[in-house]
């Protein structure tokens, strides 16, 4: 069962999570991202609009993607982050590194 979609537009890929970004999902998503990066993706956008939970494995995947893109002067954004996840990323001092932005008001999701 796919818990994400990857939409490719030239050298950009949009990763839309359909649920949580946690340990069980990581191996599959990591392999898919690696394939896209090898095929020339220079910008990755993660849409966490439907994501309630992000654990340290999910954070690790975002940082690994960011590191890979930085090596080829690419960039990354993490969009529609829930308030809980945004607070977590702020506490871990990762908001700037991951270029993370919260959801617009009225876009709150409940788990």
């Amino acid at each position: 069962m796919a818990y994400y979609t990857i939409e490719r537009k030239e050298n950009q890929c949009l990763v839309a999570l359909q649920g949580d970004l946690t340990a069980p999902l990581i191996p599959d998503l990591q392999a898919a991202l690696k394939k896209n990066l090898e095929q020339g993706v220079e910008e990755a956008v993660f849409d966490l609009g439907n994501t309630v939970m992000l654990d340290s494995s999910g954070i690790g995947l975002l940082i690994a993607t960011c590191n890979s893109l930085a090596q080829k002067k690419g960039k990354m954004r993490v969009l529609n982050v829930s308030p809980d996840i945004l607070r977590l990323l702020q506490s871990m001092r990762l908001v700037t590194r991951l270029n993370a932005a919260g959801r617009e008001p009225g876009e709150e999701k409940h788990g």
């Binding site: 069980p24 340290s56 590191n67 871990m92 990762l94 700037t96 590194r97």
Partner: protein, 143 residues
């Protein structure tokens, strides 16, 4: 692995096999239990911390050995939400882990304990390092 003494009241005891796929159902139960008992605001922190230690117990503790179990005990007390996770592995050097600095923003791993420290007021380990106990603050009435 039996639930510890004093786990009466609003509590949850689960044992799972060492598969990461077994973490999600337990976390859904934790979320439901907290929501049903007026602790919706604590859900994110409790679930996140539970995930971190369940994942650790499965991957690093039991080394994905399907024959080994991981036990979780959760209790909603008067002031605290108590969480305990036990694996059947050799344990880890929690003293060394506690002394380590948080990883910088390019490091991929090593955030399980720093995340737990963010949400839990107290964290203790057994001597061997295969059992962790965490106390998280309960949501106060109207808070």
């Amino acid at each position: 692995m039996k639930p510890p003494p004093g786990m009466a009241g609003i509590s949850l005891h689960r044992e799972i096999r060492s598969h990461l796929a077994e973490v999600d159902p337990v976390c859904r139960e934790i979320r439901s239990l907290l929501e049903d008992n007026g602790q919706a605001a604590a859900c994110f922190g409790v679930e996140l911390v539970a995930r971190e230690w369940l994942n650790n117990a499965i991957v690093h503790g039991n080394r994905l050995d399907a024959g080994k179990k991981v036990a979780l005990n959760l209790r909603i007390g008067r002031k605290w939400i108590y969480l305990q996770i036990i694996d059947e592995g050799p344990g880890f050097d929690w003293r060394k882990a506690r002394r380590a600095s948080p990883p910088d923003d390019t490091v991929i791993g090593g955030r399980g304990l720093p995340i737990s420290v963010l949400y839990a007021c107290r964290i203790t380990f057994n001597q061997r390092g295969n059992q962790v106990s965490l106390w998280l603050k309960k949501e106060s009435k109207g808070g």
